[in-house]
Symmetry: C2
Subunit: 255 residues, 2 copies
């Protein structure tokens, strides 16, 4: 079988030689990673003013983010009815990758004054420590009295007589207290890698997956907002000014 070195010693020398060559390969891999990181950092800087501009424009469009989330199949699955109402107050989302990128990122959610919690900003950030172990931490949400959406059961939400009968997911906001999957946080990665690069595509195109065959030419179709007008208006024309008329929440709103 070929021209094998026969003695243990010669094999050992070959292995040591392979090890040296491998060290050269590893060194080149490291250099490549560093150069790629520099390219990514350069373009992160170049993209920054455009992200900034985009955020300012988005802030002018009512319900941009809640619509975007509702239209995104994976995020939508995490939203309870009241989550959606709370997310109507979400005015700005920012994703920041840390300077050395591989070490983590942060997502900031900016909220307008709202009946659910006191915070103006909710953040969650993800880190890799030096040995590569992932961790995450978040803003503690200061819920207004009786408004903690993470403590509502499906029953509480359903008894108000909603049209949806399917099982309610846990609240979207439990994400801020869940640090079990810091290394592969599904929602964090969907926002960072799928929504943030181009949120407009989700804002404009609703998730059609479970609406197939329901007649896409129907009356509610014109604005591409299929699922967000929960406030009882069927024609979806007044959503532009839905600041605060969430009349379903008759439990301690005015504390």
């Amino acid at each position: 079988v070929g021209f094998y070195l026969r003695s243990e010693k010669e094999q050992q020398e070959a292995i040591e030689h392979i090890d040296e060559v491998q060290n050269e390969i590893d060194r080149l891999n490291e250099q490549a990673s560093e150069e790629i990181l520099k390219v990514e950092q350069k373009y992160n800087k170049l993209r920054q003013p455009f992200f900034q501009k985009r955020s300012e424009l988005i802030a002018k469009i009512p319900n941009f983010w809640v619509t975007t989330f509702v239209n995104h199949p994976q995020v939508s699955a995490l939203l309870g009815e009241e989550d959606e109402e709370a997310l109507h107050y979400l005015s700005r989302v920012e994703v920041t990758e840390f300077e050395d990128i591989k070490s983590g990122y942060r997502i900031d959610f900016y909220f307008d004054e709202n009946p659910y919690f006191e915070n103006k900003v909710l953040s969650k950030e993800f880190h890799l420590n030096e040995s590569g172990d992932p961790s995450s931490k978040s803003t503690e949400i200061k819920w207004k009295s009786g408004k903690d959406l993470t403590k509502r059961s499906s029953q509480t939400q359903n008894k108000a007589g909603r049209k949806r009968q399917h099982e309610e997911p846990e609240s979207f906001f439990t994400w801020f207290t869940d640090h079990a999957d810091a290394g592969a946080d599904e929602l964090g990665e969907v926002i960072k890698d799928d929504i943030w690069p181009n949120p407009l595509q989700y804002y404009l195109v609703p998730d059609m997956e479970d609406e197939e065959g329901e007649g896409e030419e129907d009356e509610e179709d014109e604005e591409g907002l299929e699922d967000i007008d929960e406030e009882g208006d069927e024609d979806g024309e007044e959503d532009e000014e839905d600041d605060g008329e969430d009349g379903e929440d008759d439990e301690g709103e005015d504390d």
Copy 2:
């Protein structure tokens, strides 16, 4: 809820403006990808002579590749008993990423003259076409008479009285005819991304996962080869010259 633009028209204009900004972001993303690709191509070229040198050194070590595969937990799970014997003739493995990297890669397996098949090289290559659809193709294996390992049942392999009693996997060599998962070919990606970057680590360190607590200080430990001496010699010292003594295969070897 903030300073929203109220009219449909103003919102439409904001959306169009977002779209323009998004196009700038997309353009920067493309530039970034191109620059990163160039860095990767540059380092692929720089690494090439070291991979070449490494291959030459590896070819001098008997059973390097079969040992490496047996020591790798995922690859090992794909190996039947006779696969391992055939892989003793595997002298060289080469992974080639295509010039535009994202479009695919090829793995070449160079075999010495062997009792199983006529081919000197077995290759499998993976492509993405322009619309991003994956496909794969392989060398057709010219099995010697009665030696087609993909057509042996577990029974055939077991009746020779092997020590292993666990269920035999399908043959490793079925991989060359299986093109169902071209987009996420597990073995292909393990070889390309995990083994090829540093095969020596697997050659030297056997998979301990299912050997825990069996006394790692035992007699066979010195060479770190736990699982490859299938030929009946318990002391594992004669493996260097095991060219052809696969006496278990008593079906038409000499055609």
